[in-house]
Amino acid sequence: MDFGTSDFKFGPITLGEQPRIINNRGYFPDKKSVLYRAFETASDVVVGDDVPLYLQSAEDLSSRLIYPMRNGMIERNDDQAWRVVQSLTSYGLEAFKPRPNNGFQGYYVVASLSSISPRYMYERLMAAFMESSHGMVRAVTVISQPFAVAIGHGVTTCVVIESGHGNSQVCPISKYPIRTAQVALNRGGGDANAITSEILKDAGYADLANEEAFVRKVKENLGLVPENLNDAIQEAKRSPRLVRGRYKVPGTRVEIDLDKDSWSRFLIGEYVFNPNHEIFESYFNRGMPKPRDVKMGDTVFKGMLDFGEAIVASVERCPVELQPLLYKEILLSGGNFSWTAPPKLQGIAVDAPCKVKMLLRDRGIRNVSVKMTRTPQSSVWHGCIIYGFAVPENYEWDWQRLEGWMKVPN
């Protein structure tokens, strides 16, 4: 089971290449409503494909529709979020309940959490499985998502960089996750949305700049990652037609045309990888939030570290003999790395692996290989399946190692 920030992916090995996917969210219906009382329901939390049937007014959403892992973490005392997680585990298990009396003795369940999850999240998730088991779980374990990505990708020594909506993590792996070398960044897709919003305001679309879903669509369709920001801006101003950014929202009359401001497309991608360029100071000065260092749980998240610096900082915490091997396999995972480089902008715009290579080259690291994960949506789940298949059942859970099987009494 992969508890992602937006989606919950689950299922046994017999599903083959693709897991089942539902939103990682739960809805708490209004029990006073006659509609709720008229229908039989077994739980206080609705998860899965039935959630849209229960959604009422937009005002309801913020209080009743809960996304428990928006930033990869759940607060210890956030009971609502934990109830959603409990419901999701039950849902996932019930969806694959085998026929009775066929000798089934319970699943070996492998759950996956963000690498920044503190110990209490492991404890509570395991408790949720104990409670939801009802004979369906023989043993449970929890592994980190970057570790699962490395397993799914088939690389035993590598650096996995996971970048999602709220934050990013750099995680070296060498047969085990090297936890003490992990570096976390307080920067993700949400920050790219913030700079996109500012660009839209400057281009005269202030009324649309506050709609998050719209801003995200603009980012995805118009954002570019420059090979070198100064050169890209210069080229864009010299040849505005080449870089002109236009986007029409499908099914509407809403169209964005950045026109002479199309050079700003490169700011969106650059900001994700390196927010330190002086051009961003003017945006910070007029109020755009500057990514800052924060502590969440046990982890300090750096705000302004660029990806090159973060990778180097992480790898240099590992033994020297391991470092070249780590640089040779850098895996990028997560939606925040899904950037494309249009062929007509070759040499000006690049994709994520290329940008990371350049940031490392600027720091004197040359012999590197940077790749995107082949199946970004399901690579964590693949890793969980392999882990559950291969690890011996007598490898018991250890709270120091944070690995092994926790047997579930049935």
Binding site: T14, V34, E94, P98, G154, V155, K175, P392, E396
Partner: protein, 203 residues
């Protein structure tokens, strides 16, 4: 738990059911009735009289009705309001029981009845205006195909998970393992966990 059907009188239109100890009646207004002058008034008057026989009464109307009605009127009268379309039902105004609405003497005096009638007349006049506006709006809209079944989907699917009785095995390649298992060195690495291999380098 859940709604139980209730036997209703022949002259009563709509749906009745029991929720716990409360009897609920829902009168359903269909799309083509919305443009009929008296249908809405009939519905409201009918619900007002039914409030003595049922603890909770609702008017279920097409969602289009919501744009032309002031829901506070329903709130004042304790009549619940549901909006429906082909996809969902929303409770716009919860119904109130007689005791919630007016904790005073159970029997209404003639004066109170007259006041209620006056209020209904006001509601009727407002709806007249709303319907005229709707007629104008409808003439500029493409009229959708008539809904074959006007009954809103009160019976929603239960939340019981439909269990699969056995695993789907046809997706696994030729009965073997998925592609991400092929040549994966982790199978060997992980199979040796706990077999006396050396401790991790760091962490």
């Amino acid at each position: 738990m859940g709604a139980q059907p209730v036997v209703q009188n022949d002259h009563e239109q709509g749906v009745s059911f029991l929720l716990g100890t409360e009897k609920v009646h829902v009168l359903i207004l269909k799309l083509d009735e919305m443009v009929q002058r008296n249908a809405i008034l009939d519905a409201l008057l009918s619900l007002s009289t039914l409030k003595f026989a049922y603890q909770l009464v609702y008017l279920a109307a097409p969602r289009l009705f919501g744009t032309s009605v002031d829901a506070s009127i329903f709130r004042t009268r304790g009549i619940g309001l549901l909006f429906y379309d082909e996809r969902r039902i929303d409770e716009a105004v919860p119904a109130q029981t007689q005791t919630e609405q007016s904790p005073g003497p159970p029997q209404q005096s003639n004066t109170t009845l007259v006041t209620e009638l006056a209020t209904l007349r006001t509601m009727y006049l407002e709806m007249e205006r709303a319907i005229s506006q709707l007629r104008k709006d409808l003439t500029t809209l493409r009229i959708p195909q008539p809904i074959q079944d006007h009954q809103p989907r009160i019976a929603m699917p239960t939340l019981e998970i439909q269990s699969q009785s056995n695993f789907p095995t046809n997706v696994v390649h030729g009965g073997g393992l998925p592609s991400y298992f092929v040549n994966n060195p982790w199978l060997d690495v992980l199979s040796k966990r706990g077999s006396g291999e050396r401790e991790p380098i760091a962490g």
